[in-house]
Amino acid sequence: MAGAMASTPRSPLASLPPGLARRRDERVVAGVCAGVARWIGVDPLVVRVATVILSLANGVGVVAYLVAWLVLPVEDEDAARTVEPPAGAGRGRAAEMALGVGCVTLGTLLLVRWVAPFFPDGLVWPAAIGGLGIGVALARAGDGDHRWRELAARLPGNPVEALRGGAGAWVRIAAGAVLLVVGLATFLATNGAFASLGAIGVSVVATALGGALILGPWIARLVRQLGEERRERIRNEERADMAAHLHDSVLQTLALIQRHADSPPQARSLARRQERELRAWLYDDRRRAGDGAADTLAAALDRLADEVEADHGGTQVEVVTVGDCPLDPGVEALVKAAREAVVNALRHSGAPEVSVYAEVAGGRVEAFVRDRGRGFDPATVDGDRHGIARSIVARMARHAGRADVTSAPGEGTEVALSVACQPEPAP
């Protein structure tokens, strides 16, 4: 029921007389007296005095007040009347609140003592101080009326929840905790509990429990906040990293492209190079880390394409790699042979685009360098091309690899390379 109260301002009892509601805007504790006074049509002071007298008389006042607190709906009909208090006013409210809780506790205990006189002062005063402490801890000041209202609406519900949030809340929570501990200590001391060793344990446990109850949610929140701050810091670092990269490479390249606007091949190769770089940076962690890290076939082929495109303006080298392996001497020879084949194709085939495909499977690397240029008849090649083809073949042979050149006039050329390799690096 308390929960329902907190979330909806409607009365849980359908039979309540209409118009009877708590007045949060005029309250001292929870607005019950003010609400009743408004409903009857008298000054709230009258009802408050009556409540106190009833409380001291036989306890009916306190019980009735608590029941009304739980049962009566909250009314905010006069929102217009509720002038937002200045920012500092919340602090005054907090003190009021603390005093209220303290007074109610004190009153209740005095009453109980009067009815059943076996409660000594040793219980009454510590409990009153403790109540004051709870009040201080629960009160959250400084955030204006909204927070305050929120809190008041939550009060009958979950006081632990009410502890969360609010700037400087920890000061009040600490003050509340100190008061609680003083209360508990006074209680234990005046009752002679410290005389026996066991009671010390009790008091320690009680104190720890009180502290944990009050500080627990705050600590949890602190931990959460720390985690969030760390994530935020990582995000910021990534952002700075990105900005630095964009500045160093992309903006520079754009400036260069503008300067070379009258030379399409150069502008094109600049754009192409930047594209490849950015792509690797964005999508490929291995290659991004590539600079100093362990070198692999895929990274080497990408670099190859990069460099060849830079040297031969206006050309494109498309690299597709399936699988990957470390760059041992055999694989390095294959990359170098592939580079020769690519350069050869760009120089002689007349095709502006060369495809490089490499696949690592079953302990072997296979690579294909292909163009769609004019091709040649392997039987009647001129010395230069034959020489290059031979040097590629010889290079691969030294590493127990193979190289085959397939070509026909008008059909383009394909160089197939293969060599053994170490297994792919473990993930």
């Binding site: 498309e318 597709v320 990957d324 495809s355 495909y357 690096p425 993930p427």
Partner: protein, 220 residues
């Protein structure tokens, strides 16, 4: 041939959040296709495609409001006849595989030459698949390796045949369908059916590697 000439121009809908790119594609396809509409985000794309019912949607992978995938997934159930060709600057494997698995009939990069783009549009309109060398490489990666022992795999879907692998490897090497057909001494239709079959497997396979694939790749 006569059937081809009788058919009206392919009706194409463009979806891309870069207006500059949209106008470029429009200029490239002028005279080769009929551009029936354009959109720059998921919501307007879904609306526009439903209203114009084009033959082919050229779809950017990265779109505000959920990406190209969201467009395919929203439109396909009600308009199964509309085919999607993904077009992207992204070479990230998870993007490419993601949009294919959502139902795109192919994937080409934005650097594709104008003539090739028009040909790719025609090809997907006729129901064939369009694989760029890079997509072929991704698929080979995805279907690479031995099937984990004890895994419940559907051999129909979770493995590619040696012949399909051969076709994919030639695609990755930069061969056109025609060149592949000549090299393997089969008809172009046969090559097309192999590629379509691979596409289907890519879309439907529950192969372990496909779902965890992108993550695996990043870990290598």
């Amino acid at each position: 041939m006569s059937e081809r000439s009788e058919r009206s121009a392919t009706r194409v809908f463009l979806v891309d959040d870069h207006r500059l790119f949209l106008s470029g594609v429009r200029a490239e396809l002028a005279g080769r296709a009929d551009i029936v509409g354009e959109a720059t985000d998921v919501e307007s794309a879904v609306e526009g495609i439903r209203a114009t019912e084009p033959d082919v949607v050229l779809l950017d992978v990265h779109l505000p409001g959920g990406g190209g995938r969201a467009v395919i997934e929203t439109v396909r159930p009600s308009h199964p006849g509309v085919v999607f060709l993904a077009l992207s600057v992204s070479d990230a494997a998870e993007d490419v595989i993601g949009v294919i698995r959502a139902g795109a009939r192919g994937y080409v990069t934005k650097t594709i030459a104008a003539g090739d783009l028009a040909a790719a549009v025609e090809r997907v309109r006729e129901g064939d698949a369009v694989f760029s060398p890079r997509l072929a490489g991704f698929v080979l990666d995805a279907f690479a390796g031995d099937v984990p022992p004890g895994a419940a795999l559907d051999p129909e879907l979770d493995q590619i045949t040696p012949r399909e692998r051969e076709v994919l490897r030639l695609l990755a090497r930069g061969y056109t369908y025609k060149e592949i057909a000549r090299r393997l001494e089969v008809s172009i239709k046969t090559v097309e059916s192999h590629v379509s079959s691979v596409l289907r497997k890519l879309q439907l396979s529950s192969r372990h590697e496909l779902t965890r694939w992108a993550t695996d790749r990043r870990l290598i």
